[in-house]
Symmetry: C2
DNA sequence: CCTACCTGACTGGCCAGTCAGTTAAATACG
DNA sequence: CGTATTTAACTGACTGGCCAGTCAGGTAGG
């Protein structure tokens, strides 16, 4: 299959997921977002499941590239930016897409292949957080008693939770972002936290 | 419909959800867990969706009762217990059930009725956390600069995230529990946190 | 004329929901 | 009291729509 075709089908899958979500996604929906027919999808991919796995793989590679790009500024800014970026919808349809991904996450326990791909994403986020925290400690902008491993996991959890709570009950992401920023400044970053005001 | 029948069908729905999850739950699966036939379910409930809503309602009432029961001990213990209880599978099949609920949460954006029920659960947890924090402040076991509203939301988010990350990528709940406990002791509770050890 | 790519039409399985009864218990009636 | 009638609670068999996946071709480039 040509790179062009791959790219088109991955794009169509993205758009279809945004429009319809995962649970009610039909092969026809993906075909409708592309210039190809439903049968063409089955020509290129063995099954719907197979296509979705390829899509996750594709997404992983995109994310991997993207995540290593935005390396501008000091660790403090980078950490704040990275964390808040996870909680800020950027493009059109980003929110719908997050929801679709959440649906896939909820399927992970029933599907090892999904689980593996999703573990990849989580690992990327976790590693990034950990290395930013470590860099922060090395340069003295992150508190010395912060354990990068623990804190990275804590942050990864919290980002997940904020997204989930936003999707589930409509809790505003902006507020979750503020709370997490406050946490970072108070607990993690040097020079703006609790040690300033004792009470 | 008799209370007995209601109870049986709600129980059957619970067991079926544990066994099959939400996405691949069939009316037949629920019937199989009860002494009734599939047609009987349709006799009592207008549709599958209707039955599931009734189930969520039932669950809400159970949870509401349960949550107001465990009112033993000081606010500190209660807070720690409550938070950690959310991150500790109790009964058989609790984990599977949490997964099924997560699947429903992921459907909330497409289904207002689900969203309302789930907002109810979230509200129950949030209110409990907030009042425990307030009680803690009043009795001097929770730091005075803690905002009960913000911290309750932060905790609710974090609990959601820990569960999600556990289900999605198999991150151990026990570790998430420890991290959250550490957070509470360090940031929220008086007398065991950062102010003890400066370096 | 062969291969890669693609299509419209079709098929088979799945499953929510329906329907035409059946049973048993309650209620009315002589 | 015994018998007729109604009603609630069911059941097994069926139906109709949906959709992933198939297939018998078609077309264009090498």
């Amino acid at each position: 299959m040509s790179d062009e075709t791959t790219e088109e089908l991955m794009g169509a899958t993205y758009r279809a997921l945004c429009k319809h979500g995962y649970a009610s996604l039909r092969m026809q929906d993906i075909a409708d977002e592309s210039t190809k027919s439903k049968a063409a999808l089955h020509y290129h991919y063995e099954s719907k499941h197979d296509l979705l796995l390829a899509f996750l793989e594709h997404l992983y590679e995109q994310f991997e590239t993207e995540i290593s790009e935005d390396c501008g500024g000091d660790p403090e800014t980078q950490l704040l930016t990275f964390v808040e970026e996870r909680l800020t919808p950027r493009e059109e349809g980003q929110k719908e897409f997050q929801t679709a991904i959440l649906e896939i996450k909820a399927q992970a326990p029933y599907d090892e292949a999904y689980r593996e791909r999703l573990a990849g994403f989580d690992g990327l986020v976790f590693d990034r957080l950990r290395s930013l925290l470590q860099a922060g400690i090395d340069r003295g902008v992150v508190e010395e008693d912060v354990d990068p491993e623990d804190t990275a996991a804590f942050l990864a959890e919290h980002i997940n939770g904020a997204q989930l709570r936003n999707v589930t009950v409509g809790a505003p992401l902006a507020e979750a972002r503020q709370r997490l920023r406050a946490y970072l400044r108070r607990e993690v970053l040097v020079g703006s936290g609790a040690e300033n005001g004792g009470g």
